[in-house]
């Protein structure tokens, strides 16, 4: 059981475990924007597609606010990773 808990990676891009996320929530960082900047959750190639909902549920539990009332953070262009050379091509 203990082993299972340790391997509970929530953000696969940055390999962040649930315990680490809970630790910072308990330290008072109770929104996704702050956790993103402390832990890089949501900054990897998937930009939080895997972890955002799980983290928002954790934040909801910690703050007592419904998920719908929490700030979900921002997904930035180009949304899906694009090779640099494709962006550099002339669009004319």
């Amino acid at each position: 059981m203990e082993e299972n808990k340790k391997a509970n990676i929530i953000c696969r891009c940055e390999e962040i475990e649930i315990d680490e996320i809970r630790k910072w929530i308990n330290a008072g960082y109770t929104n996704f924007e702050e956790l993103k900047r402390i832990l890089r959750v949501g900054m990897g190639p998937c930009q939080g597609r895997g972890c955002r909902d799980i983290i928002l549920r954790e934040l909801s539990k910690a703050t007592g606010k419904p998920v719908a009332d929490l700030l979900p953070g921002v997904i930035r262009p180009p949304v899906k990773p694009v090779k640099a050379k494709l962006l550099a091509e002339d669009n004319e």
Binding site: E33, G44, P45, P77, P81, K83, K85, L87
Partner: protein, 382 residues
């Protein structure tokens, strides 16, 4: 309504506000910091976060040198559990024109006279040391190997976290809507939810948002926002690529310690706004320009782009000064090089707020220089 009080109120939770709150709390001052969103949500966290000692004036160099003395042990000092990701992979200014090279040489001479280990390098020396750089057309570079990078988000958050631990009150998602003054003296602030806080001294360190706030007590700041864009790639093998700043078209790039690359490029046509909106034109222009200098990255994927506002002044230097409203100090207008001045900015603001003599002469940063037409010209700004 109860009015709450403090010794010092800090308005703005960027790196300067957070480091000042930390320094004040460490000195036992009752300080309250107000930030409209999360710490670093304005220009600080959005910064390219280059750390450099390449400036061309003694004032900036004295402060830059102090910053680089603080950064190597700052993570240990703040002790928050957050990694500051400080690296010293160097910072390079690349010249494509004789006049630019001559100015770099002058800057480096001044830096060396202050014991900063900068050097000038010829194109073949650059090629030999960084064979992956493709610097066609360059005539020389200025390089300082002690310069580097830090994570601007964890830097700002760590200052705030350590300040809280030392007793500071740090109020996030709590915008200040106006300052209060009475008989020419600062009195306090009013927050968006109607709370009134009083203090005999207030620091305004709200980047480009400082201008409208200063105006609420009749202080005119010549500080305006300008959007700047950055992008980050997926991580690649770490090869300690320094910050490379190309002085032909303003493109720059560097590797971050997790292997990702950051690309940026300055563009004079960018809008003068505080909103962090995105630009497709930036993506095309910056990738074209950077891939020319480091073609090995052409197959690397771009993961995210973002933008943030510079807080420009007419001479692209900061204002650190008491205003005509007694007790109101401003520290803003860093015009794009302010993140790295978090340590020295926090120190001098703490010194001013506590009535101590600042460790550097702040005369050049005075607010009245604009009215006096005695601008603070810094030859090395980007």
């Amino acid at each position: 309504m109860t009015v709450k009080t403090a010794d010092v109120i800090v308005v703005g939770g960027g790196v300067h506000g957070a480091s000042t709150a930390y320094e004040l709390a460490k000195a036992g001052v009752k300080v309250v910091l107000f930030e409209k969103e999360y710490l670093g949500s304005g220009g600080s966290g959005r910064s390219a976060a280059g750390l450099r000692q390449h400036f061309g004036t003694e004032t900036n160099l004295h402060m830059a040198k102090y910053n680089l003395q603080v950064f190597p042990t700052l993570e240990e000092e703040l002790d928050t559990g957050m990694s500051l990701e400080f690296t010293q992979w160097g910072y390079m200014w690349v010249a494509y024109a004789d006049t630019v090279l001559a100015q770099l040489q002058k800057n480096v001479d001044l830096q060396r006279s202050l014991d900063i280990p900068s050097v000038m390098m010829k194109p073949d020396e650059v090629k030999a040391r960084w064979p992956y750089l493709c610097m066609d057309g360059i005539i020389g570079v200025a390089f300082c190997g002690d310069d580097g990078h830090i994570n601007p988000q964890t830097l700002t958050l760590s200052y705030g976290h350590a300040a809280r631990r030392l007793g500071a009150t740090v109020k996030t998602y709590c915008p200040v809507v106006k300052l209060l003054a009475e008989n020419g003296k600062i009195k306090g602030v009013v927050t968006e939810d109607g709370e009134e806080w009083h203090a005999p001294r207030v620091l305004l360190s709200a980047g480009p948002w400082s201008t409208p706030l200063a105006a609420t007590v009749g202080v005119d700041l010549p500080v305006y926002p300008e959007r700047h864009n950055l992008l980050i790639t997926e991580p690649v093998e770490v090869f300690d690529c320094p910050m490379v700043l190309c002085l032909d078209d303003g493109a720059y790039f560097k590797q971050c310690p997790n292997g990702t690359f950051m690309f940026g490029r300055d563009d004079q046509d960018e809008p003068h706004i505080t909103e962090s909106t995105n630009s497709a034109k930036f993506l095309e222009g910056v990738t074209k320009s950077v891939l020319k200098r480091i073609p090995a990255l052409s197959g690397v994927r771009v993961v995210r782009q973002w933008s943030g506002p510079y807080d420009n002044t007419p001479d692209h230097n900061a204002i650190i000064d008491w205003t005509p409203v007694e007790g109101l100090l401003v520290d803003c207008g860093w015009s794009g090089h302010g993140l790295q001045f978090g340590p020295s900015g926090g120190r001098v603001c703490k010194e001013l707020l506590m009535g101590e003599k600042p460790f550097v002469d702040l005369y050049r940063f005075r607010l009245s220089r604009f009215a006096e037409n005695d601008l603070f010209f810094e030859p090395a700004f980007i």
